[in-house]
Each structure stands twice: as C-alpha cells, then as structure tokens.
Symmetry: C2
Subunit: 167 residues, 2 copies
DNA sequence: CACTCCATTCAGAAACTATTGAAAAATAGG
DNA sequence: CCTATTTTTCAATAGTTTCTGAATGGAGTG
C-alpha cells in the first residue's frame, strides 16, 4: 500500500467530513482507523496524523458517540485501542441519523407549522411553493426513515439504488 | 400569515443551510424570498432580516451563482429585485450538484485510487472494508447523477421515493 | 499507598468564517 | 458629463470553531 495514496485518502475523507457534519480531525482519524488492519492506540493516531493528544482524545470520544468506531481491549495492555465499526451500513446510518435529527427535522417542522398557519387565499403563489417543498422534504423524510429502520431494509434500499446504476 | 411562524421558518431554514453547505445569512435570505409573494429589493431584505447592505449584496450574488434565486427588473424602477427560483426541483438539484462536486467526488476518487494501489493479500480486512465503502459510494454517486440529470428524471425519482412513504 | 502510565478535561491560543460599513464603481436620467 | 441613487467591493472586526498542552483524574502494580 502506497503511503501517498493513503494520505490522499485520509485528507479527502477529511474534507468529505463536512458532508456528514463531522470536523476534519474527526474524519481524518476515522479514515486512519478504516485503513488500519489492527486496532490502534491514541498515541499512534496522534503522532501519525499530527493531532495533539488532547484533541485526539476528544475526537475519539465523539466518534464513539456517533458509533462509528469501537474501543477494544488487548489483554496484557493497559492502553485503549480503537478500530472502525466493521459494519459499514451501521456506520452510515448512524451518521445519517445524526444529521437528520439535528438539522433536517426542525426545518421540516417549522415549514409544516408555517403551512398550517398560512391562508391559501392570502398568497396563492407562496402557498404553492411551500407546499411543493413540504412535499419533497416529507418524501425525503420517509425515505431516510426507511433507510434508518434497520439493516435488512437498508440492504433492500441499496438494491433499489442500483436500479439507477448505468447498465 | 402569522409573523412568528414566518420567523421560525426563516431561522430554521437558516440552520438547515449547513446541510446544503450554505451559510446562515444566505439561507435566511433564501427563506425570505421563498415566502415573499412579490420580488423584493435588497433594501427590504437588509432591513427585514437585519443584515448589512454589503453582506446582503454578497449573499444575493452567491445565491444567484447557485441558481436558486433570480434577479428581475420592474419597469420604471431602477432597483434590482429578487425572487426565489420558482422551480423547486431545479433549486434542489443545483444545491445538490454543488455539494457533490466539491466534496463527494474527490473523496470517491481518492478511495478508488487507493483501492487500485492496494494489494488484496496485504490486508484482506482493510481491502474488504474499503471495497464495501466504495460500492456504497459508487451506488450513491449514480443515484445522485440520475437525480441531477434532468427535470423529468427527477420527477420519476420522486415517484420512486414515494414507494417508501407509509401507506 | 506510592508510582507509573495512560486518558480526559479545559482554559486559552490559533485558525477560520461571517459580517460590517465606508469607499468605489456602476447605472440611469437629465 | 454631472448628479442622484443603488450595487459591489474590500479591509477591518467580530464571532465561532477547532486545537493545543498543561493540569487533573483514574486504574493497575509492586
């Protein structure tokens, strides 16, 4: 494995973190764990990625909260070791669930409240526009819910997605 | 239309902006245009939302670049007026396209490079994990591409999404 | 219980992003 | 081509997030 490629992967995973709402250091650490064969300890992470011990510890804690990494014990060793969640699906829906709860849901709620209060007659155009957005967001909402329901369902959805892959 | 509800909508649309990678002011202005019956000028936006003229101007420019708002002329009036893109779908895929290009694509590229360089024998476990992620991201990539292709296709996909709505 | 080793916390520093407001540029009318 | 009005730019500032490293805590060991 070429170390340039490894670094490129770590860094671009770091940038993609924004998409999931995870900061750069967290995402880099996550990438590092993804490409580590064996569980690694915080010292190794810290020196390999040039992130201070303190920050490393905080990021690891956060990543554990997200459920995308696991802490493992190696008998005869006092240190804590970490490894990436082996179930990629589980990892992805934990990330998706977090974003949905924090950002998507409140906006959809506010939009519904607003629609409930809005008089159609008062402004036909605005009402229609908002209704359209509400419809789209609601549909996405159900879609994401299904995705999050459980592993089996998600696998179905992956198959589903695949209908759109180029023949 | 209740003004509390309007504000709640504006503010929560502002928070949801992070999801699209649009900053708070931009998203608030966008929300304001969404709920405005007639085109509004920058003065009105600025005073209604308490955003300086300068910042308002920059946000409007950005929003135009994103293609989610339009500038309109009102004859006999020197000022520029703005209105939200009336086609909600167009609006959504412009936003999605931006994020995909900026964050998703580079990460997928790096992952593929890495996989190409990785020897399966060297680390079975890592290789499998990365392959799994690559597969998922690729599928998502195609899915998003289809979504972005054109309006017709998107409408089909909306119907598709709906299969997952509760009966 | 004293020592060692590692993990965690947290206040301040650094880096980054968003916002302002004054100045400059553009536009239209006379 | 001058004036009035609106838009845009940009340097300075405010605000926010992330990161560091020293201090603190805690767990195992002799």
């Amino acid at each position: 494995m070429d170390s340039d490629e490894l670094n490129r992967f770590i860094e671009s995973w770091g940038s993609m973190g924004i998409l999931w709402g995870i900061n750069r250091s967290m995402a880099r650490i996550h990438a590092f764990l993804l490409i580590s064969e064996k569980p690694v300890d915080s010292e190794e992470i810290s020196t390999s990625l040039n992130i201070s011990r303190g920050n490393t510890s905080m990021c690891l804690k956060e990543l554990r909260n997200w459920g995308v990494i696991q802490r493992v014990n190696i008998s005869g060793d006092r240190r804590d070791f970490y490894t990436a969640e082996p179930d990629t699906w589980k990892m992805l829906y934990r990330i998706a669930l977090g974003r949905k709860t924090r950002e998507f849901d409140p906006a959809l709620h506010a939009l519904r409240h607003l629609l409930a209060e809005t008089d159609t007659a008062e402004s036909e155009k605005v009402h229609e526009r908002l209704t359209q957005i509400e419809e789209i967001l609601t549909t996405m909402d159900h879609f994401i819910d299904r995705f999050l329901e459980n592993e089996e369902k998600s696998k179905t959805i992956l198959g589903f997605f695949k209908n759109f892959a180029p023949r």
